[in-house]
Symmetry: none
Subunit: 253 residues, 2 copies
């Protein structure tokens, strides 16, 4: 809709990967050097990018400002922090905090696991709902009509052999999740990792976010993972209390 803006935003995501030179950028987004230069100058004036020497450009400090302010809006992050940090340091496993947004899951916070297995996730990153434990929790929290609507709209990209691939199966899974109060991702997103997730509720029992625990399969088998559910749920409930939840929700809805 706005070409120049669009290009500028593409430039930003290119620079996020790595610092680049003018014509590297020009080549990658297929526009003239001079065009890129002008965009970069405007971005630079607003501190969205900064120059390194004369040739390299990288992201600037304005991003940090904005990101910080953007995160402040998301209160769940703060109110859940103690409970999740405690769970993380006690179990040593990777914890994610995620919210639902436009048919996808957004990771809002991450507590790195103590074992050295690196996970391909990052605060701010988005992921599909149909193959993540957090996605299931978040969608399962919605009214049945909305669930169906979302189930129909997904593209069910296949990630592993266990990935759910159609609306019917997804809806059935959601029913289970709503009933049990937690969700499982049995290596449906990444082959070597399985996860469990539980909802974090605010005032009136509305689900604000989902907390998950991700563990490499080599480290813990499926039964071992399930054994951790009570701990995760306890931490999520604790986080809920600090997010305005008033104890017993008459109905999970």
């Amino acid at each position: 809709m706005s070409q120049s803006l669009d290009r500028a935003l593409v430039i930003l995501s290119e620079l996020a990967k790595d610092a680049k030179t003018l014509d590297q950028l020009a080549e990658q987004i297929d526009v003239h050097k001079s065009t890129v230069l002008r965009l970069l100058r405007t971005l630079e004036a607003h501190h969205f990018v900064r120059r390194e020497g004369t040739r390299y450009y990288r992201l600037g400090s304005a991003l940090f400002d904005l990101a910080n302010q953007a995160l402040e809006d998301r209160d769940v992050r703060r109110s859940s922090q103690p409970a999740l940090a405690e769970l993380n340091s006690r179990t040593g496993h990777t914890i994610h905090l995620a919210t639902y947004e436009d048919g996808e899951v957004v990771y809002v916070d991450k507590y790195e696991g103590h074992h050295s297995v690196r996970m391909y996730s990052r605060v701010g990153k988005r992921a599909p709902v149909h193959c993540t434990a957090v996605g299931k929790v978040l969608v399962a929290a919605m009214a049945p009509a909305r669930r169906a609507e979302i189930a129909e709209s997904l593209d069910y990209q296949v990630r592993t052999g266990n990935t759910i691939t159609n609306p019917a199966d997804f809806l059935a899974e959601l029913d289970k999740v709503a009933k049990h109060g937690y969700a499982v991702d049995n290596a449906e997103h990444e082959d070597f990792i399985h996860c469990i997730a539980a909802p974090i509720r605010g005032a009136d029992g509305v689900v604000l976010a989902a907390a998950s625990m991700s563990i490499p399969k080599i480290l813990l088998d499926f039964d071992g993972l399930l054994a951790l559910v009570p701990e995760l749920v306890a931490a999520a409930d604790d986080a809920s209390v600090h997010s305005g939840w008033t104890g017993n929700t008459e109905r999970g809805q």
Copy 2:
């Protein structure tokens, strides 16, 4: 230079303050609603903003995605470069950037002083923590337990008449450093040189590195050196901002 991009970036900083509606934005940046709408749509497509209901717009997840992605490969060396280079060229004194590694200090970057006094240091070189200003800053940034652990493990090699020679004195010195936010090396490493150092912080206020200024005693007396502390701290803070530091660290350590 690029009008639409410029306006879009202004919109982002407006949204950073608070969520706003379409014509609130239109009024504030003094352009037509429809124009703002188009910009918002492109921003939304890239997840730079997100809608809340139909009326309110707020910052989106791409912002903290980019910021986090940028932080991953942003080494202190690069992000501190402008601030330190500026300090170096303005004062003409030797600046070091150092990190902590395995009980020692590693010089990561060096900005040569304008006077031709040779200093025994080099990028990549290691130095003890007990007799350098950077070492004190880096260890002082750690939790008390870790400080004590390190203090016990050092060998306190004597370099000059002023060198600290035992754990108790070192720990006392660290307390001072943590309290004041800067460290001093009063000719404790080399007889004819004294230094000051300050921490450079990244996201969450964690200390990533320390910046120091080293000056021959013949060139400037001790009081003159201390008078430079504010300048060094200012430069270090500037470097911190470009390293992801978000301003107020409620607790410095």
